[in-house]
Subunit: 432 residues, 2 copies
């Protein structure tokens, strides 16, 4: 009988020594993290440094007095802290600081999706080489423990698809167009006024924020070697109120959907507005909530949802990573990561499609469209036209039977040159 060694006293002491944390970046999330850390009764985590530019204007009186406030990242590197908590965001200087931290034998916890989407695999390798940890649970879906759930909780399954709503700003804007019957521009202004969207909202509404998160999710859940630029990405600017009216007729609503799917050695990955059935988990997410649905060979569909952004939920994810570290920092770092699956990357999903036209009505339009679709061997499913719209800018919808999106777009490129359009046709996949 082989027995494992019992824990020895020295190890017990390891576990009770506090894990020293330097907080770099004292913005909304940083403040929430500091609040949680200073309100905990356990002594397992100790905040030792706060680093920020012009740190004096950031100082608050509710953190313990022995916390060092500094503008110099070198103060952190030269101290005996255990973890650098990077909440600066962006690539520069975050990447440099994270690299130097790992090289100095300090573990790193970060909420920086852009950094991890861009440099995650290289930084994880650097962490392993230096025998330290790099944790980024907060980089996707804020307070929803989805990365951990997919990697560890569903580690025994073979996940082949993930889809989700990963950007709360887009979800808020689309919900407002749908429910408050306002335009995209008005909904965007509202979101900016309420602080849900930045003054420069392109990162959110053009899909770059979601594609960074999808990249991280696909690496984690699908073991895919994916870069953000390889994700077919489309913004939500074209979506109008009329699209919700037609979507409702089809039993659907419209959401910004991020999805990745492995099929026959190909990884399909995309971020775009899409029609989703009103009964689906994706449709039920309102306001600034996030959701991720995974599909596995054995476990079927699993849904994770909750608050995907905001200071406090993101801080929960960060503190959860810190607690994991405080328990595991003296453990061996796994020496080798799984090598990524060998997959071709594509944005050419196969699905049913919704195409909305806006035309100056005249006889022969439907025949002309049907003609082009037919030549491209695309099957029309149905034509929807709601009453009461002006003939001079008539919106109507053609639904298309499942086909590859590239095939559809070739037909639409040809259709776009026809003379009856008041606005370019808008196409969206219909997800089932």
């Amino acid at each position: 009988v082989v027995t494992s060694p019992k824990p020895i006293k020295e190890e017990v002491e390891f576990a009770t020594e506090p894990c020293k944390v330097a907080l770099v970046g004292f913005g909304t999330v940083g403040r929430s993290v500091a609040r949680i850390l200073t309100s905990r009764s356990s002594q397992d985590l100790r905040l030792t440094h706060v680093v920020n530019r012009n740190v004096d204007r950031k100082r608050v009186d509710w953190v313990p007095r022995d916390v060092a406030w500094t503008q110099s990242f070198d103060d952190v590197l030269n101290s005996d802290i255990d973890v650098v908590l990077e909440l600066v965001g962006g690539l520069d200087p975050a990447e440099h600081w994270v690299r130097r931290s790992l090289e100095s034998g300090k573990s790193v916890v970060t909420a920086n999706k852009q950094l991890i989407a861009r440099h995650g695999p290289a930084l994880q390798k650097l962490a392993r080489e230096n025998g330290v940890h790099l944790l980024f649970g907060a980089s996707v879906a804020g307070g929803i423990p989805v990365l951990l759930g997919l990697q560890e909780g569903l580690g025994g399954d073979r996940i082949h698809r993930i889809s989700g709503i990963l950007n709360g700003t887009c979800n808020y804007i689309l919900s407002q167009i749908e429910n408050a019957h306002i335009s995209f521009g008005e909904a965007l202004e509202q979101a900016q006024a309420k602080g849900f969207a930045e003054a420069n909202a392109s990162e959110d509404i053009d899909g770059y924020d979601a594609r960074a998160k999808l990249t991280i999710l696909a690496r984690t859940a699908l073991n895919a070697d994916l870069e953000p630029e390889q994700v077919a990405t489309r913004g939500i600017r074209e979506v109008e109120q009329i699209d919700f009216a037609y979507a409702h007729d089809l039993g659907c609503t419209i959401r910004q959907i991020s999805r990745a799917e492995v099929k026959d050695k190909t990884l399909f990955a995309g971020v775009q507005p899409a029609l989703v059935p009103q009964s689906s988990a994706l449709a039920r997410v309102t306001g600034s909530q996030n959701v991720v649905v995974s599909a596995g060979e054995f476990g079927g569909e699993t849904v994770f949802s909750g608050h995907g952004a905001g200071g406090d939920p993101t801080a929960v994810a960060v503190v959860s990573d810190l607690l994991w570290l405080s328990r595991n920092r003296h453990n061996r770092v796994t020496a080798e990561s799984k090598s990524a699956a060998d997959l071709t990357i594509s944005g050419d999903f196969k699905s049913a499609h919704y195409v909305r036209f806006k035309v100056a009505d005249k006889p022969g339009i439907l025949a002309a469209l049907a003609n082009v679709f037919s030549r491209h061997e695309i099957n029309v499913d149905a034509v929807l036209q709601q009453a009461g719209h002006s003939k001079s800018a008539l919106p109507f919808v053609i639904t298309i039977e499942p086909c590859r999106v590239e095939k559809l777009r070739k037909a639409l490129a040809e259709i776009r040159s026809l003379d009856f359009h008041v606005a370019p046709p808008v196409d969206m996949p219909i997800l089932t």
Copy 2:
């Protein structure tokens, strides 16, 4: 600058040596686990033994030939395996075998909710004392990684409430009463015919299965020192079609809800049928799905849902635990667990209530009821009576403004002695 040691070669070899697994109990889940293990290309987990009574009739030809099939648990204890995978279920002999495994320095993975609900804390202590691990991710909500999500993923939050649908059989039966307009008895027979319910279904429909899972969840998420018997538990046998009709009038549906909440140093814990708003995450779970909703001080509500039972989803949870072990088995076992919070346990939730009466109609009934409620200082919210029912067995509903359930039940005990009842009144909380 303090640097952590780099991983050394010996450790790399540790990580690549397969983790040897003895599978004890070759039923539905055991077969699914064996299928997943034998279909994986990675060499990190190796099935070495299958233990079952009358093992010869269990033998299958699709597991590797070097797997030993045996009836004797001692064969496992006397071998050099790393993990005992306990899928026998029940308390006897499972408890004895798990104890002996831990005492022999073998880690244990189990899906046994009754064992963990009853003896989890003692067995975890035994595991720690022996420097090995006890993992039970599959014991609650099958393939949904909710224990891990609550403990690790939301470890940085202070969770104060969990509620969920933890028993797929009850959810299937209630969904069928609601949608197929059949009686409880017919729905139960259907569930049994389809294999969703055991011939002796009491464990499910009287709430004992759910209370075991709630006990484990409450210990994990709320750090509560809870025993299954302390959970106020009520079955779903009293729920009739008419209750769904009235629930719909109130914008609700009826589900078997397991919930635990910490408030003012009291842990409220209960399993019972309840009215939940149709727009809530709890209402949307249909068929045999499970859901858990947690509420945290910082992260707000987080929802986990998916397949809570069945061979394959449960096997995913088991294999995920095995993979965690294979990566972490050489790591130190945390010496000390958090001590449980000092909480009074109560089933006396405060909520709005639904009370359905079935009476032989005559003048003065409402006055008599109002009189009793008034004497108990209970405020009636509304009276609902749908047309078209027989006067000799007239079902109608009184909704009650939020009050403690014990207070309501005292009034109902008095009301029960009045002479107009055709069936005893049925009360359920209305959750918001």
